[in-house]
């Protein structure tokens, strides 16, 4: 039914991503399709990684661990943006298109009255992407 799953991950908030990671792992195993873990980092040092290389390494480690855990094929696709907080959903949508993923599994927070202030990235991706989007609450 699906060919390739794309999972956006925020390496700084892995604790809240566990359910989404498990969901993606199950789906990939069930359909026997690969998963690409996409992470977006800024170009300046951050809490997660102090250089883009370090970020890439951590994302590759995550992909390897997920592949092991679920017995699936997994790759990592680290991306940089000069301004990740403003560009995130745009960068993700482009990655979905260009990597040829047809299913996006991503975590997002439950709807909240404050969404107008801080729109959810998941909502934005779902609204504009041509792939199917599975939002994990």
């Amino acid at each position: 039914m699906y060919r390739k799953i794309l999972v956006p991950v925020d390496l700084g908030h892995l604790d809240v991503l566990q359910k989404a990671l498990a969901t993606a792992g199950d789906l990939a195993k069930h359909h026997g399709i690969p998963v690409i873990y996409v992470g977006v980092t800024g170009t300046v040092p951050d809490a997660v990684a102090r250089t883009p290389q370090e970020f890439a390494r951590k994302l590759h480690d995550l992909a390897a661990a997920e592949a092991e855990r679920h017995g699936i094929t997994a790759t990592a696709h680290p991306l940089t943006s000069p301004d990740p907080s403003a560009d995130l959903s745009r960068v993700l949508r482009r990655a979905v298109r260009e990597l040829g993923a047809d299913l996006v599994v991503m975590a997002s927070h439950p709807p909240s009255p404050l969404d107008w202030l801080m729109p959810s990235q998941g909502g934005s991706v779902a609204e504009h992407s041509e792939a199917s989007v599975f939002i994990v609450r």
């Binding site: 040092p45 970020f55 092991e68 696709h77 990740p84 801080m118």
Partner: protein, 560 residues
Amino acid sequence: MSDPRVDSDAAEAQDQTEDTPEVEPIPEPEGDTEIIETDFEIGQDNFAKSWTLSFDIHQVVFTWSALAILAFIILTLALQDEVAPIFTAMRDWLTTNLDWFFLLSGNIFVLLCLGLIVSPLGKIRLGGPDATPDYGYMGWFSMLFAAGMGIGLMFFGVSEPMSHYASSMGGISVGEDGLRTDWAPLGGAEGDQAASERLGMAATIFHWGLHPWGIYAVVALALALFSYNKGLPLTLRSAFYPIFGDRVWGWPGHIIDILAVFATIFGLATSLGIGAQQASAGFDYLFGFGATDFGMVVLIILITAAALASIVRGLDGGVKVLSEVNIALAALLLVFIIAVGPTWDIFTGYFANLGAYAVNLPALSMPFAREDSNFVSGWTAFYWAWWISWSPFVGMFIARVSRGRTVREFLFAVLIVPTLLSVLWMTALGGTAISQVVNDGFTGAQDAALELQLFAMLGELPLASITSFVGIVLVLVFFITSSDSGSLVIDTIAAGGKINAPVVQRVFWAIVEGLVAIALLLGGGLIALQAMAVSTGLPFTIVLLVACYAIVRGLLNEPR
């Protein structure tokens, strides 16, 4: 990576990224840099509540700078008559008694930058030997120019050359106490029209040339180096790591960052307020309306709204685009003035002024034993303090967009190119205005109020209504580009150097800036608080001198 499947797929992913250049892959390995080992974790002192609705702010820096801003506004509004003289007296004392310190430090910054351009250290690349630039030349240059000079070019491009020209023509006058009472640079050039013109232009270029850009370059280079090459957070305190070591993550660092937020927000807000007054005066001059409190508040709201739209769209989609529009408009106006103004005079004047600048530079930048004390403290020292108080903001913004450039390339673009362009701008605008006085006997621009001199000068050229309109739009756009980059910078500092804090935080800072400007505009105290902001030039001069040391140490420690 133990799983072979992952390895092969990683290679496949690499191939894919090569096929799809639009998705910018992580520049893999970027080569050796000296990463500083520190126990500090970026964001460790931050307050970030939960993932669902998190604010990501540095507890100490955010809280204290917010409180200090509030306190100073209340103080200035409530006790205006009491604090205004204190603030202005402080600024005047600094620029009068410590003028030598500002001038000396300015020279050190320029010499360091020029030295680095020619030294082998210039080969070091910001972000590691294999790093690639985030922006092309045009976008990069537009952003740093729009943030760095901005609005001053519009107001001083005509008025400053004219002012120095007039005072040079007036020559030297000595008061009863034996001190000079005139404002002429150096020895003036009494009655000599040509010499006065050259001296006036040299003095103007001195204030808008190598020195201001040297100041910005020092801050920007220190931040870029310690952030991209050493892995420290992008915040002012990182440049102090060679001095304080891990103590920069404590109070010494907090104070530096709080001071930077403070200087930036008050520098921007007071400029916004004063600029709104000037822009509305321009509106009034051109269209006959706008010079009311209501008109000015509307202007500030419009400028802030545009800046908000820009920062919400981000660096690429907002700030860069706006900066390019800004530079394109400025270029349009410049080309127009050159074409319809005294073209040949501007052309020859460009080289003559550049020569005059070179000849007079040693005398103009001499920190000690100056006879032209009014010029030194009233113009030069004031400008230096002003540029330096802006340097945390401009420097940090330049650093943010300069990853992937070599030190030499960086300094060439931040120091040399803007200086050459400033000479052209000043020659075209100031030269045209002076030529109107000298050749045409038109003194309208000379006699007009400062904020109207540009429009009075344009009024004598063809298509005046169109160019004046472009001029006023340019004034507004220059404001927007300063406001948006300023809000980005404040947000980053207040988030402990994190650039991926929620967008709503930068929105907060942009709104604060607009509100401070409106409050001060209506309640009074803009000038007083600007004097306060300029006074922060003194502590930052010391900060910059330390940064010079840190740059050299940091560059020497890079693997070569």
